[in-house]
């Protein structure tokens, strides 16, 4: 388990460097599937976040965001990418804790970090 501190996502402060993400040993066989799945979920998350920012704060849209975060956390955990799993765990908390108007920025910050981490992993595989 990673010992990096990801609580910064809750306070809109600095997060660990995404390019220093460690690559699990056994991920090679699954990396292509993981990358496709994560990219697709991040796209969906961005769409739901932009809709949220534009005023769609319905329970349905909030549930979609929470479900996507939960799924990203589950897959990261299954493939052993602890940093993404932990950051997503903190992001789930942050979504519940923050005020509605603070949520979109936090989610886009999260998405940006995960995209960078994913591209860093793709280079290392």
């Amino acid at each position: 388990m990673s010992i990096k501190d990801f609580t910064g996502i809750r306070k809109n402060s600095n997060l660990p460097n995404p390019y220093e993400i460690s690559l699990p040993e056994d991920i090679k066989d699954f990396f292509g599937d993981y990358e496709d799945s994560l990219n697709s979920m991040l796209d969906d998350l961005e769409k739901a976040t932009l809709a949220y920012e534009s005023g769609n704060k319905s329970k349905e849209n909030s549930d979609t965001i929470k479900r996507l975060l939960h799924k990203i956390k589950g897959e990261a955990s299954m493939v052993g990418v602890d940093e993404i799993s932990e950051l997503t765990h903190e992001t789930e908390f942050a979504f519940d804790e923050l005020k509605e108007e603070q949520r979109p920025d936090m989610l886009l910050h999260y998405k940006d970090w995960v995209c960078k981490a994913l591209s860093s992993m793709a280079e290392k595989v």
Binding site: D29, D33, Y34, S37, K73, G74, M78, V79
Partner: protein, 286 residues
């Protein structure tokens, strides 16, 4: 045994990894089936005999919780073992599911070793049957005779220290004994329920257990032998008590013992049956 395993998870990647982990255990799997949510899983279970269901909790359309609930309230699916695979730790929700009859849960991610050990637990639980009798038959009988609620086995169940045991013998085409082992508190409850005794003492508690063993034996005999006419004799129940947990440990380690949870109390039932080789042997013995 060759297994047919249904993996229920909305993540195709997770389903693939779970499958790979199971393959690494070299377990004899006949077929893997996939479902994206509880609704899809129930459709599969309607048409296919599945030996084990591995399910996530949070899924769109129908969650794992709803799926388990529907499975456990449907006669055709209620006895299929379900194991929850989740990133959640042992939360109240998981405890509720275990109480509802879910066999176990695995925290994501899990190793082949963890899965192997889980399968051993699932196997030993499903093999824990007494002779020809199923746990369902036993629990139903206890529920009917003791007027008590039989619940799924869980960690909170009271394992007795001071035990009372009632034993009843039968002979005929087959002979053997049925033993019921329970805690003192359970037997007191039994005396209050069966004997309508306000403040039962040890004697009336033991009598209540003997009465239960008598009726239970009568109820089970048709399942043990081909018909009650094949039973020539049923003995008067005997009883004994033990002040430490040794008797409980000894009996529950026997493969012919099943343990049921009656209103939070563990009750063990052991069946010893000897089948006669021929009718002539029965006649000579009689």
């Amino acid at each position: 045994m060759s297994w047919k395993i249904l993996i229920v998870d909305d993540s195709a990647l997770t389903r693939k990894i779970v499958r790979r982990v199971i393959e690494m255990t070299q377990m004899d799997v006949d077929e893997f089936l996939d479902a994206e949510n509880g609704q899809e899983a129930l459709k599969i279970l309607k048409n296919t005999n599945v030996d084990l269901v591995l399910s996530d909790l949070n899924m769109p359309e129908m969650s794992g919780v709803e799926m388990v609930h529907q499975m456990k309230t449907t006669p055709d699916t209620k006895s299929i073992p379900v194991v929850i695979i989740s990133t959640e730790s042992k939360t109240a929700r998981i405890r509720e599911l275990l109480a509802e009859g879910v066999k176990d849960y695995l925290h994501k991610p899990f190793t082949p070793e963890e899965f192997k050990s889980l399968i051993q637990t699932v196997c030993s639980a499903s093999e824990q049957k007494t002779g020809n009798m199923s746990i369902e038959a036993l629990t139903k009988a206890l529920e009917t005779m003791a007027f008590m609620t039989v619940m799924p086995i869980d960690d909170q169940m009271i394992i007795p220290q001071q035990t009372f045991m009632a034993e009843i013998g039968f002979s005929g085409m087959r002979n053997g004994t049925v033993q019921i082992l329970a805690g003192k508190d359970f037997c007191k409850m039994l005396a209050e329920n069966i004997g309508a005794i306000d403040s039962p003492d040890d004697k009336s508690s033991l009598d209540a257990l003997k009465e239960l063993s008598n009726v239970t034996c009568g109820l089970f005999l048709p399942m043990i032998v081909s018909s009650t006419a094949d039973v020539f004799d049923v003995t008067v129940p005997k009883s004994s008590s033990c002040d430490d947990s040794s008797q409980w440990k000894e009996i529950t380690s026997d493969k012919n013992t099943c343990v049921v949870n009656v209103e939070g109390h563990a009750v063990a039932i052991r069946l010893n049956v000897k089948e006669f080789a021929s009718v002539e042997e029965v006649v000579q013995t009689a």
